[in-house]
C-alpha cells in the first residue's frame, strides 16, 4: 500500500518548469528522505502533494484522496511543516500548541511533546524569542499533534545545531506509529542516509529512488554518490580567489574581539568573549542554537552595541569609526536580507555600488560574479522568488562583491545543497589562502574541519578554542560532530 502515487506530474511557473513529468510512489509506514540540488523542485513537490499548489498535468493520489478536489479531507489526515514553520512568533509556546491542537481538534495533551522537545520550562515564552533549534522543535511538535497518518517536513533541520538535529530525528521516530509515513526534505545527507528510503531530485525529476544504504554504506560515501547523481562536483580553482586583489596591510591580527559582553537585564547573552584572528585565517564560531553566536557576530560588525569590551576590524574600533571599519567587511546575515523585490542583478549592482565599485569596474565585476556563481539563467528574477539555496548563494555573492579583506559569514551554508556547499568552501578556503580573514558560523560539523581554528560557544561563553584536531584530541573524538557533542555535554556539567 502506497501513501502517495504520482503519475506524470508537471508544474510550471511561467517559463520555469519546477516539476517535469514526474512519477513517484511513496511507501506507507516508511521515512522517506527528499534530497536534491537547490531549485530541484522539492518544496514544489511537497506543496503539490498536499494540494497547496495545483498541478498543470498529471495525477496525484494521497492516502487515496485527490488533493485537488479533496483537500479538506486530506488536511485532516496529514501534518505539514513548511520551511518557514508557520509558527506565530507573537504567541507563546503553549499558545501555539493550543492553537494547533484546536485546529486539529485534539485535546490539550502536551506533556509528552513538551518532555521530548525540552520546551517545558519555556512554555510561556514568546515563540519569537526562542532560538532557531527550539522553534524547529516546536514547529515539529505542532505538526505531530493529533498523530497524522502522513507527515511532510520541508527542511525541518535548516539552521539547527547537531544536538537539536539529533533530537528532532529522535522525536519523529519515537512519536509516530509504525503505520505513519514521513516525507522529510533535507540538505543534510547524513540525515538522509539514516532514512528508510531516499528520493533524489534534480531539475524537477526523480533521479534516484531507493534505499540509501543500497547507494552507499557510509555517510561520506553516500554524500559523494548523491553529488555524482546530481551532476558531480569538480573542484576547480576559485575564480573569486584568483581575481582577488590583496590589500596591503601589515596588521597581523585583522579581527580582534576583546572581552566582548552583551547583557540584557541580568541575562548575559555574551560574556567575556575574546579572540584574535590572524590575517588569512578561517575562524569558526560553533555552538548550539541560542549560545550567543549571532549576538557576537552582530557586535563584531557594529549592528549591536556591546555592553562591554571592544571589537576591532583592521585595528579600527568598530564603535569609534564604524564607516571605515565596515568598508573592510563583507557580511552575510543568517536570515536572507537582500532586497526581495530587486532582481538578482539589481541586488549585485546595488551592493557593488555602495561599496564603491562604479562604472566599468562595476559592469565587469557583476558580470564576473554572475558567471562564477552561475546566475546567468536567473539574473533577471526577483530574489523573492528564488529557492532558499540560491538566496544563500546570492547573499554570499553580495558579501564578496567588493573584494573585502575580511568576511563575516553567519551560517552561509544553511539550506544549501551539497554541491553548492563544496563550492562555497572552495571559495572561502581559496580566499583565505590569498589573505582574506574569515569569521564563520556553521551547523555542519564536517565544515568545521575547514576552519583553521574553532571557538566553541555555549551559553554566551567560550568553552573551548583551538584547531579542529586539537579539539578532537582533547575530548578523544573521532570526528568534529562527536567532539562538539562531547564538549557541550562536558560544559553542561
Amino acid at each position: 500500500m502506497d501513501t502517495v502515487t504520482i503519475k506524470n506530474l508537471t508544474k510550471k511557473f511561467k517559463e520555469i518548469t519546477a516539476i517535469d513529468d514526474l512519477s513517484l510512489k511513496i511507501e506507507k509506514g516508511k521515512v522517506t528522505g527528499l534530497i536534491g540540488s537547490d531549485g530541484s523542485g522539492k518544496t514544489t513537490l511537497i506543496r503539490l502533494i498536499i494540494g497547496l499548489l495545483l498541478p498543470d498535468h498529471g495525477e496525484i493520489s494521497v492516502l487515496g484522496l485527490n488533493p485537488e478536489t479533496q483537500k479538506d479531507d486530506l488536511n485532516k489526515r496529514i501534518g505539514y511543516m513548511p520551511q518557514k514553520f508557520g509558527l506565530y512568533e507573537d504567541l507563546t509556546v503553549i499558545e501555539n500548541l493550543r492553537l494547533y491542537a484546536d485546529l486539529k481538534n485534539v485535546p490539550y495533551d502536551f506533556e509528552r511533546l513538551l518532555e521530548f522537545t525540552d520546551l517545558k520550562k519555556f512554555q510561556s515564552r514568546l515563540t519569537g524569542a526562542l532560538s532557531g533549534g527550539m522553534k524547529q522543535k516546536l514547529g515539529l511538535a505542532c505538526v505531530l499533534l493529533g498523530s497524522p497518518e502522513f507527515l511532510l517536513l520541508d527542511e525541518p533541520s535548516v539552521g539547527v545545531d547537531p544536538i537539536s538535529r539529533r533530537d528532532l530525528m529522535q522525536m519523529v521516530r519515537d512519536l509516530i506509529s509504525p503505520e505513519t509515513t514521513v516525507l522529510w526534505s533535507t540538505a543534510y545527507l547524513d540525515e538522509a542516509h539514516s532514512f528508510d528510503t531516499a528520493i533524489v531530485m534534480n531539475q524537477g525529476k526523480v533521479i534516484y529512488h531507493g534505499k540509501p544504504y543500497d547507494l552507499a554504506k557510509t555517510t561520506e560515501e553516500f554524500e559523494n554518490k548523491v553529488i555524482d547523481l546530481m551532476g558531480g562536483y569538480r573542484k576547480t580553482s576559485s575564480q573569486i580567489a584568483e581575481n582577488y586583489v590583496p590589500k596591503n596591510s601589515d596588521i597581523e591580527y585583522t579581527v580582534v574581539a576583546d572581552n566582548l559582553e552583551k547583557v540584557y537585564g541580568d541575562f548575559y547573552a555574551v560574556k567575556n568573549n575574546s579572540f584574535e584572528i590572524k590575517k588569512g585565517e578561517i575562524f569558526g564560531l560553533l555552538g548550539p542554537n541560542g549560545a550567543g553566536k549571532s549576538t557576537s557576530f552582530k557586535m563584531m560588525c557594529g549592528l549591536l552595541k556591546p555592553t562591554g569590551g571592544t571589537a576591532r576590524i583592521m585595528g579600527i574600533d568598530i564603535t569609534e569609526d564604524p564607516e571605515k571599519a565596515r568598508s573592510n567587511l563583507g557580511y552575510m546575515a543568517q536570515k536572507f536580507s537582500l532586497y526581495e523585490s530587486l532582481t538578482v542583478k539589481q541586488n549585485l549592482d546595488f551592493f557593488a555600488e555602495i561599496y564603491g565599485i562604479h562604472n566599468i569596474d562595476l559592469k565587469e565585476r557583476v558580470d564576473e560574479i554572475i558567471d562564477i556563481f552561475g546566475f546567468s539563467q536567473i539574473k533577471n528574477q526577483k530574489s523573492r522568488d528564488l529557492p532558499l539555496g540560491f538566496k544563500q548563494k546570492l547573499s554570499l555573492a553580495c558579501a564578496l562583491i567588493h573584494n573585502p579583506p575580511i568576511l563575516f559569514l553567519d551560517e552561509p551554508t544553511s539550506g544549501v545543497d551539497a554541491i553548492t556547499r563544496r563550492e562555497f568552501w572552495n571559495h572561502i578556503t581559496s580566499l583565505a589562502q590569498k589573505g582574506v580573514t574569515v569569521l564563520v558560523t556553521t551547523h555542519f560539523m564536517d565544515e568545521a574541519e575547514y576552519c583553521n581554528r574553532i571557538s566553541l560557544f555555549y551559553k554566551g561563553e567560550t568553552v573551548a578554542i583551538g584547531t579542529p584536531s586539537a579539539l578532537k584530541e582533547r575530548i578523544h573524538a573521532k570526528n568534529m560532530e562527536e567532539a562538539f557533542m562531547k564538549l557541550i555535554l562536558e560544559s553542561k556539567k
Binding site: F13, K14, R47, I50, G51, L52, L53, L54, K71, D72, N75, K76, I78, Y80, M81, P82, Q83, K84, F85, G86, L87, Y88, E89, D90, L91, E95, R98, L99, Y100, D102, L103, K104, N105, L126, C142, D385
Partner: protein, 370 residues
C-alpha cells in the same frame, strides 16, 4: 466551532501582544473628537477685515463701530488703502469694507447707498461669509439708525426656525458625524494588514494545511476585530454623549445595532484590501489612500452630497460612512426616524454582504505564484 474559537483566540492574543492596534482603537477617536470639537467650526467664522471710511458724517462712525462690535468680525480702521491692500495680499485680513463719501447722503435721500466690499476670493468660504456679515451688520445698523424712518417696511417677513437643533449648534452634528470618519479609518486600518501579515510570515501556509475551511479563515478575522472595533465605537459614543454632552434623542439599541452594521462594512473594505494584496506594504498604502480622504470629503459630513454632480452622487453610494452619517445625525438630533434607520441599515447590510462575499471569494486556499 472549536476551530473558529481557536482562530479568534489566536487573533485576540496577537492583538494583545502588539498593543498598537488597541492604542489606535482608543487614541484615534480621542484625538479626532478633540479636533472636531475645538478645531473645526462650520457655522460661522470670525473674519479679520479692514474698514476704510470716506464718509465724514458722524452717523457713519456708528456703522464703523458696529463692525467691530460684531462677534463675527474683527476690524481695523485705516485710511491708507495701499496698506490695507498689502494686508489683504498677505492674508492678514480677508476683506476690506469701503464706505463711499456719498453713503449718508444717499440714505438721507431715501436712495440705495452702495457699500463696497473687497474680499479675498482665494478663500471662498470666508469671502461668502464676509459678504453676508456685512449685509447683516449694515442692515441692523440701518434699522436702528436715524435713517430708519427712510426705510420702507418689509411686508413678508421670514421667520426662520431650525428644527432638531434649536440653537444651531454645529457640534451636535459634527461630533456624531466625525465618528463615521474615525470608525471608517479604524475599521480599515485594523484589518488591512492582518491577512497580508499571515501570508508574509508564512503562517498562512500551515493554516491552509490544517482542518481550516475558508469560512473559518474569514470569520476568524472578522470576529476579533469586530469586537475590538465595537469597543472603539462605544468609546466614541461615550466621549460624544458622556463627555462632550451632545444631546441624544434616539434609541441606544438602534444606535448600537446600526453602528455594528457600519463597522462590519468598513472592516470588509480593510479585509478585502488585505486579502487581495497579500502584502503589508501595499495594503497599508492603499488603505490610507482610499480610507481617509474619500471618507472625509465625499461622505457628506462637510460637503453636501446633494450638490455634487449626479454621477458622483452615485459613486458616494459605495461609501459606508455616507449612510452612517445620515443615520447618526438623525438618530442623535431627531430621534429614531424609522425610514432613515431602515434605509441606512439596508444599504449598509447590502454593502457589508457584498464585501464579505468578495473577501470570501478572494481568500485563497492554495498558494498562488505571481
Amino acid at each position: 466551532m472549536k476551530i473558529l474559537r481557536a482562530l479568534v483566540k489566536k487573533e485576540i492574543l496577537q492583538i494583545i501582544r502588539d498593543p498598537s492596534s488597541i492604542i489606535i482603537a482608543f487614541v484615534l477617536p480621542l484625538i479626532s473628537i478633540l479636533i472636531y470639537m475645538y478645531g473645526i467650526n462650520l457655522d460661522f467664522v470670525t473674519v479679520n477685515i479692514g474698514v476704510k471710511n470716506d464718509d465724514n458724517s458722524p452717523d457713519i462712525t456708528q456703522l464703523v463701530n458696529s463692525f467691530d462690535h460684531s462677534k463675527y468680525i474683527n476690524s481695523e480702521v485705516s485710511d491708507n488703502m495701499s496698506d490695507l491692500t498689502q494686508k489683504l495680499i498677505r492674508s492678514k485680513i480677508k476683506g476690506i469694507v469701503i464706505i463711499p463719501n456719498d453713503f449718508s447722503t444717499n440714505l438721507e435721500q431715501r436712495q440705495s447707498a452702495d457699500l463696497m466690499v473687497i474680499a479675498d476670493g482665494a478663500e471662498v468660504n470666508t469671502a461668502t461669509h464676509l459678504q453676508n456679515y456685512v449685509l447683516q451688520i449694515s442692515n441692523q445698523w440701518l434699522a436702528t439708525s436715524r435713517y430708519a424712518q427712510q426705510v420702507s417696511p418689509q411686508i413678508v417677513n421670514p421667520q426662520i426656525r431650525t428644527w432638531y437643533n434649536q440653537d444651531s449648534n454645529g457640534y451636535y452634528f459634527i461630533l456624531p458625524g466625525s465618528i463615521a470618519i474615525t470608525m471608517t479609518l479604524i475599521g480599515i486600518l485594523l484589518t488591512a494588514l492582518v491577512v497580508a501579515r499571515e501570508w508574509e510570515r508564512g503562517t498562512m501556509e500551515s493554516i491552509l494545511s490544517s482542518n481550516v475551511t475558508r469560512m473559518h479563515i474569514v470569520l476568524g478575522k472578522y470576529i476579533p476585530y469586530f469586537i475590538l472595533g465595537m469597543f472603539s465605537m462605544i468609546f466614541n459614543l461615550v466621549l460624544c454623549i458622556g463627555v462632550f454632552q451632545v444631546p441624544f434623542h434616539g434609541s441606544y439599541l438602534v444606535l448600537i445595532l446600526v453602528s455594528a452594521l457600519f463597522l462590519f462594512t468598513s472592516m470588509g473594505i480593510g479585509l478585502l484590501i488585505s486579502t487581495i494584496l497579500k502584502n503589508q506594504f501595499f495594503a497599508s498604502q492603499v488603505s490610507i489612500g482610499i480610507g481617509f480622504l474619500p471618507a472625509l470629503l465625499l461622505s457628506g459630513l462637510v460637503f453636501p452630497i446633494s450638490s455634487m454632480p449626479e454621477i458622483l452622487q452615485y459613486i458616494t453610494r459605495i461609501l459606508p460612512p455616507r449612510y452612517f452619517i445620515t443615520f447618526i445625525e438623525s438618530e442623535f438630533m431627531a430621534g429614531t426616524v424609522p425610514s432613515i434607520a431602515i434605509k441606512s441599515s439596508i444599504f449598509l447590510l447590502i454593502l457589508g454582504i457584498i464585501l464579505f462575499v468578495a473577501v470570501y471569494k478572494n481568500t485563497d486556499m492554495r498558494l498562488t505564484h505571481d
